[in-house]
């Protein structure tokens, strides 16, 4: 548990960056860096966070930060880790440095999944944070492997025949947990204490740790920028975004949602789902609700929850 009064006032991600108002990524990173336990370096995949926080000659990062490319944040992290280790061995480096790799859903679910899998398999000691805004927002809202079923994006538009993305979202934590890594968890910026505690655990874990945090995107979700945190909360309260963690293979549900709201409550404020609220596509809404229920049941079983 994190105590609010213990959090430092220091902002390692400085204000004045150019992310949109209400962007979940900046909130997620700001909170993560508040619980950095010591010397920390961030490696950032190409994406919204990267292009908006380090526009030469300015930077928002008050710690060592490196961006290399889109698909390789995890591989870069492995290289940084190897360098510190080897330089320490010859007496050229003395301190332990935490490595945080950050990527969006495109850089994680799609183009970066191979590099992430490789880094997890070789046991690189780093925390990987995927801020999932559920599409390629940086390039103008194209669908990714993380875009939910039914969402309209610029490459999965709400057509008259195809109502948004036909496919279902990948199970990222399942993929990561299958690598047998010490720590994997989901998070929501609406539940700051749950998330920051998970960041602490991820940093403390010896080996790869992955946190998959929902990152509301007012631009891509087509919602009011003041709605971000409310939507991040609704995602949990509708059971759309279960909060759970996998620690050394053991699943634990972090937030029971005994009286879930219908998933429609999460979908309705977002323009990307507007087309589903027509009589014609009512069955799609029902399918999404069924999927949420099934997924919740699956997570409950994995977590050994009985109800």
């Amino acid at each position: 548990m994190v105590k609010l009064k213990d959090l430092p006032e220091e902002e390692l991600l400085a204000s004045g960056h150019r992310l949109c108002a209400g962007c979940g990524a900046s909130i997620a990173l700001r909170m993560a860096l508040k619980v950095a336990r010591g010397p920390t370096v961030v490696t950032n995949a190409t994406g919204c966070l990267e292009v908006s926080t380090a526009i030469y000659p300015y930077t928002s990062w008050r710690l060592p930060w490196v961006h290399v490319a889109f698909e390789n944040a995890a591989a870069v992290a492995s290289g940084i880790e190897a360098a510190y280790k080897a330089m320490a061995r010859r007496g050229a480096w003395g301190q332990k440095v935490d490595i945080i790799a950050v990527a969006g859903d495109g850089g994680t679910f799609d183009i970066g999944i191979q590099a992430l899998s490789g880094a997890m398999e070789r046991g690189s000691d780093f925390l990987y944070i995927c801020y999932d805004n559920e599409a390629y927002m940086n390039t103008g809202i194209q669908r990714s492997g993380a875009t939910p079923h039914g969402a309209a994006t610029t490459t999965s538009p709400a057509g008259t025949r195809i109502p948004g993305k036909p496919e279902w979202k990948k199970d990222l934590i399942g993929i990561c947990a299958a690598h047998g890594i010490p720590y994997a968890a989901t998070a929501s910026p609406a539940y700051w204490n749950d998330y920051m505690t998970k960041v602490q655990k991820g940093l403390a874990a010896e080996g790869p740790a992955v946190i998959h945090i929902l990152s509301p995107c007012p631009t891509g979700w087509r919602c009011d920028s003041a709605e971000s945190i409310r939507l991040a909360r609704l995602a949990v309260q509708t059971r759309y975004w279960p909060l759970y963690e996998v620690e050394a293979g053991t699943y634990r549900l972090n937030m029971r949602v005994p009286k879930p709201q219908p998933v429609e409550e999460f979908l309705k404020p977002q323009g990307r789902f507007r087309h589903l609220f027509t009589p014609e596509f009512k069955h799609e809404l029902e399918a999404i609700q069924r999927s949420v229920d099934e997924n919740w049941g699956r997570i409950q079983r994995l977590c050994g929850e009985t109800t």
Binding site: P39, T40, V41, T43, E50, V51, A54, I55, Y56, P57, T59, W61, R62, L63, P64, W65, V66, H67, V68, A69, E71, N72, A74, A75, V76, A77, S78, G79, I80, A82, A83, Y84, K85, A86, M87, R89, R90, A92, W93, Q95, V97, Q114, A115, S117, G118, E121, R122
Partner: protein, 392 residues
């Protein structure tokens, strides 16, 4: 007594890397490079080196990890071939753009399709504009010597660019030769540990790899171009220092018979040995021929080649790669540009040869010299681009 070891080209690269006391090797296996990194992982497994070996899942991640390690301040090495180099392509530009002094052994191999594991220069030539300093070795000894020098050139604070040391796949990568190696202490003296000025140090936070828009990007790129041009002089200095400790002389070009040659061949890598052998025989017959072997392909030795061509009346360029649809193969394009740039008007004959590991025979090189001597006499080039040794 100098120590002579029987080493393949790959082993020579691995041995030089070990003596260069690298911190990080991140690599992925591909024929014919594999042995370079197999051997290095053995050194790691046996505790003979302090280095970390990062077993990556692709060449793209290999170069990504190398970039991360290099920016952290480590001495970094990798190796690849062919498809692996092609898969790295994106990262090659990033490594040079972020000014990472990585050294890479490239066992040159043909590119797919059709798939072929044998030697030609298609792989590196497809990446010739990637901002790396590019060296071509003629034999295992040269591969060994250049790897050690490459770290010093790359890490020079005034240069900070990656260096590729090329050796012909199989012909050099897999052939055992006697390699005269230096004592570990001699290499240590020549090549102290890297002292990087800008690193990922939490004590001195830096932002690396920022987004650079039209207001600054151009200046970054011109600085990079200045650095690779400056590198030529640093390579010469390094060669002089290396000669002092190793007793072997290197330079930008390796010349044979060029003091009075009327016709010469320009070629890279192992073919130069065959060309020199043929040229020696022809000179024995009283024909004034020579060989120009660029050790350094990038930065391109334009002035040096024009100067070497002083007595020439015609010039042939052998290209072990095809630049599809281009007027010449890649090496010849550069040579022809150099001649033009320096207002040197010479008949130039270009021969593509040896694709996919097709042998090049002395008789073929002899025919090249014959044709070049003829062009020297007549000043006429009937076919500017020909394909040597192709079955028709």
């Amino acid at each position: 007594m100098p120590k002579v070891l029987g080493l393949t080209g790959n082993e020579a690269v691995a041995y030089a890397t070990k003596q260069s006391d690298v911190d990080v090797v991140a690599a992925y296996p591909i024929t014919p490079q594999t042995i370079m990194v197999e051997l290095f992982s053995e050194y790691v497994a046996n505790g003979e080196v302090h280095a970390e070996y990062v077993c990556v899942e692709s060449e793209h991640s290999a170069m990504s990890a190398c970039v991360g390690a290099s920016l952290t301040g480590a001495r970094v090495m990798t190796a690849t071939s062919s498809q692996g180099l092609a898969l790295m392509h994106e990262m090659l530009y990033i490594a040079s753009g972020l000014r990472c002094p990585i050294v890479m052994g490239v066992a040159n191999r043909a590119l797919s399709a059709p798939i072929n594991i044998h030697g030609d220069h298609s792989d590196m030539m497809a990446s010739r504009d990637c901002g790396w300093i590019q060296i071509y070795a003629e034999n295992a000894q040269e591969a060994y010597d250049w790897v050690i020098q490459a770290f010093r050139i790359a890490e020079d604070p005034d240069i900070l660019l990656p260096v590729a040391v090329n050796l012909d796949g199989f012909i050099l990568s897999h052939c055992v030769e006697g390699v005269t190696v230096l004592e570990d202490e001699t290499v240590k003296g020549f090549l102290p540990h890297r002292k990087a000025r800008y690193t990922l140090d939490p004590g001195k936070p830096l932002t690396m790899g920022a987004l650079v828009l039209p207001d600054y990007y151009y200046e970054f790129k011109v600085q990079q171009e200045d650095a690779i041009r400056r590198a030529a002089e640093r390579i010469r200095e390094t060669n002089r220092d290396y000669e002092e400790v190793a007793g072997r002389r290197y330079g930008i070009l390796d010349l044979f018979g060029m003091e009075d040659a009327e016709a010469a061949v320009v070629c890279l890598g192992s073919t130069a040995g065959t060309a020199r052998d043929v040229a020696r025989a022809l000179r024995g017959e009283g024909r004034r021929v020579g060989v120009i072997k660029p050790w350094v392909y990038r930065p391109f030795p334009a002035r040096e080649i024009v100067e070497a061509a002083g007595s020439l009346k015609a010039l042939a360029v052998l290209d072990r790669a095809c630049s599809f649809g281009a007027p010449y193969g890649p090496l010849c394009s550069d040579v022809a540009s150099a001649l033009k740039q320096h207002r040197r008007d010479l008949p130039v004959l270009n021969y593509v040869y040896g694709l996919g590991g097709r042998d090049i025979r002395p008789s073929e090189i002899r025919s090249v010299f014959d044709e070049t001597l003829r062009a020297a006499e007549t000043g006429v080039v009937e076919e500017p681009l020909r394909f040597l040794g192709v079955r028709e």
